[in-house]
Amino acid sequence: MISLTAVSMAHAGGRLALDGIDLSVSAGERVALIGPSGAGKTTLLRLIGASLQPTTGLLRIDGVDPWGLSARDLQRLRAGIGKMHQTPPIPPRQRVVTAVLAGRLGQWPLWRAMASLVYPLDIAGARAVLEPLGLAERLFDRCDQLSGGQLQRVALARLFYQQPQLELADEPVSALDPALARAVAVALNDDAKRRGVTLIASLHAVELALSEFSRVIGLRNGRVAFDLPAGQVGQHHVEALYAGAGAGQVAEAAKAEPRARLTRCA
């Protein structure tokens, strides 16, 4: 479903965020990306999400190079890719129901999107995805009345409402408490299993990666350090991946971070 051939990504300034990645993920796989800060996890997810064009190398989604598509076809491709972020990108003054329905903007015709702003057109649909996440009662509350964990579950509900063929989650549980983090990771995996779609998530919680996902890819310095079924990842793999992530590494990551942020917004 997804294949990357010798993909590299250079940030402005020439630093390589990704360095010759070869990777293929087939439909229905549930992949966890782990690795220290600045390893290139976010960049890799943005490349696979067709938000960022690789500097060199070839990326194919369903056999298609997104950057060879027309603007309209690229938009259609993106509408089939669901994305989740560490901080939910939801306007604070928006109501929960609207935030969830926004998941289908890529599929709805314009008149439907605009009409739904006046009166939510699929209240039942929004309720159906919020219910299992324990948020059905918050349907008409404003998002700034929710806690951080609730807001992340609204973002999750939006992703489920979109019903994408490919789910990409960039550190979806890093800001949540351990119990909620596990619940969100489980919900993501269950949905992907149930609908048979591909899930790729970057995580800092290694134990979640090992227990919930089918495949684990370790990234380090923009390269694939290991790529194994979750059951075969041993303690030594993880230790080697994060080895030396002490003071020196942290300083380097801190230096790289603002640049990474900028490109995230660019």
Binding site: A71, R78, K83, A102, L105
Partner: protein, 273 residues
């Protein structure tokens, strides 16, 4: 080498401050602004004499009737002018703003979108580059004396101003929700309604109401060139050296501005919920 770490930005800031003063000082000379003249004894007496004619404000029924009619005229000119200006400004702002640019999302150049954006920006520049007073003078020749000329002049200049500021407000708000929607395949207008407006709505409303307040003042100025309303009344009163009437008109201005303030506060509360 000194061990003390200095702020690397300090030198740049100091240079800018000095440069700013170097530019301001000659400008002050050119503008011939000498505050001392204001307080010279003769001038103060003249000013006092002029202001004394303002009291008491005119309150005879005949004039108050005229005043009420002129106020309604002015409000109508300003409101219709702003409404028409918004018709011009909204599409222009959407074309001109970079916030809804998909090219900025994925850094893939789309020359056509860039060209459209540049044209929209150029158009807003032309619309607001010519002062509304000049437009009014032109339109008075087309529509004749009366409010229509004022409305047309306001619609054009304020259309340009609103478009520019709308576009900039949309650019200076938090774009994370918008970009997330665009990255998930949403169209530009969908991203506007679901990502951008919920963040920017209160600022857009408050700027629009402020512009309406400015339109009230501008319609008064245009009244002096025959575009009707309070300005025309003020022009007549001043020419007849009737300070009391001028004073009543000024009080009406003050009330209108206070009304605009209250309206703005109320609308913002509605938007914030």
């Amino acid at each position: 080498m000194s061990a003390v770490v200095r702020d690397p930005a300090a030198r740049g800031r100091a240079t800018l401050a000095v440069l700013g003063l170097c530019v301001l000082w000659p400008l002050l000379q050119i503008a011939e602004f000498k505050p001392a003249v204001l307080f010279a004894p003769g001038n103060l007496a003249t000013l006092g004499g002029f202001l004394a004619t303002f009291l008491p404000p005119a309150t005879d029924a005949g004039f108050l009737g005229l005043l009420a009619a002129a106020t309604v005229d002015t409000l109508a000119i300003a409101t219709v002018g702003i409404a028409l200006a918004m018709l011009i400004a909204v599409p222009l702002a959407l074309l001109a703003t970079r916030s809804l640019s998909i090219g900025r999302l994925d850094a893939r150049l789309r020359p056509l979108s860039e060209a459209v954006r540049l044209c929209a920006r150029a158009l807003t520049l032309v619309l607001r580059g010519v002062p509304e007073l000049v437009w009014a003078l032109i339109f008075v020749r087309i529509f004749g004396l009366g409010p229509a000329a004022g409305v047309a002049a306001l619609a054009i200049t304020y259309g340009g101003m609103l478009a520019k500021v709308y576009a900039e407000i949309l650019e200076s708000t938090d774009l994370t929700p918008t970009r997330a929607l665009l990255a998930a395949g949403s169209g530009r207008l969908g991203a506007l309604g679901y990502g951008l407006l919920p963040v920017a709505a209160d600022e857009l409303v408050s700027y629009t109401v402020y512009r309406w307040e400015c339109a009230v003042r501008a319609s008064v100025v245009m009244g002096f060139v025959g575009a009707g309303g309070l300005g025309q009344l003020m022009d007549q009163s001043m020419k007849m050296l009737n300070g009391g009437e001028a004073c009543s008109i000024l009080i009406t201005f003050l009330l209108l501005v206070m009304l605009a303030d209250a309206l703005s506060a109320w609308l913002r509360r509605q938007v914030r919920g």
